[in-house]
């Protein structure tokens, strides 16, 4: 929770410019995340070692940043799935039976799509607010 409710980022006060802001991670209700399928095994050290240019070499920001972005994307996807599962379970499953019946499965599918739509809406609203605050500063 930000201290003042508005992000004062280290790069730019008041949040993201329209160039940087994620317009919505998902389009048309289908999940599409930047870089998926990468495992999160290993700590930071082993993965960045090669990008560090080996013994005595200069750092390669490009390679490291690619890995950073992938890891962030994977973590975001995990977070999203966890929260989506929680919300959709609560909305769609009444008294848990012996299996998920057809209506429950349909509800879950719709719920997933709506959750991602809602996520995009909230993301856009937040970004607009940050830009408004930034314009007022």
């Amino acid at each position: 929770m930000p201290r003042s409710g508005v992000h004062a980022g280290s790069c730019r006060p008041g949040g993201l410019s329209s160039r940087d802001a994620p317009r919505g991670l998902f389009s048309s209700g289908r999940a599409r995340w930047a870089g998926g399928g990468a495992g999160m095994e290993g700590g930071f050290g082993s993965e960045f070692g090669a990008a560090g240019g080996g013994a005595g070499g200069k750092l390669d920001p490009g390679l490291i940043m690619e890995q950073v972005k992938v890891q962030i994307a994977v973590a975001n996807a995990q977070e999203l799935l966890q929260r989506m599962t929680d919300k959709c379970f609560r909305k769609c499953i009444g008294k848990p039976g012996g299996s998920l019946d057809n209506s429950e499965q349909k509800c879950i599918a719709m719920c997933m799509d709506r959750y991602m739509d809602a996520w995009n809406t909230v993301s856009r609203a937040y970004n607009s607010r940050l830009q408004r605050e930034r314009a007022n500063m």
Binding site: M1, P2, R3, S4, G5, V6, H7, G9, S10, C11, R12, G15, L16, D20, A21, P22, L25, G52, G56, K58, L59, D60, P61, I64, M65, V68, K69, I72, N76, E79, L80, R83, K87, C88, K91, C92, C107, M110, C111, D113, R114, Y115, D117, A118, W119, T121, V122, S123, R124, A125, Y126, N127, R129, L130
Partner: protein
């Protein structure tokens, strides 16, 4: 770890490091934004979405957008008032 310290042996600061710091800071800001959206969803989904339908109707979309703004307003309100309370000698 001399590279991470920004020093390239005896030759001075590695330009790759400050560039990296800048890029990482930008990604961090983006990640903070995303984390905040997750937090808003926690609250606003329950408030605004009743039964998930085949699409989000305009009322729900409006509710979600308002929810974000009102939540931020609430945070600011509480922060400001709390600062006053603390200033006056606390509870």
């Amino acid at each position: 770890m001399a590279e991470l310290g920004g020093l390239d042996g005896a030759r001075g600061p590695d330009p790759g490091v400050s560039e990296l710091q800048r890029l990482v800071a930008a990604e961090q800001q983006r990640a903070q934004f995303t984390a905040q959206v997750h937090n808003f969803m926690e609250v606003c989904w329950d408030k605004c979405v009743d039964k998930p339908g085949s699409k989000l109707d305009s009322r729900t979309e409006g509710c979600l957008a308002s929810c974000v703004d009102r939540f931020i307003d609430t945070t600011l309100s509480i922060t400001n008032r709390f600062a006053q309370v603390v200033q006056k000698g606390g509870h």
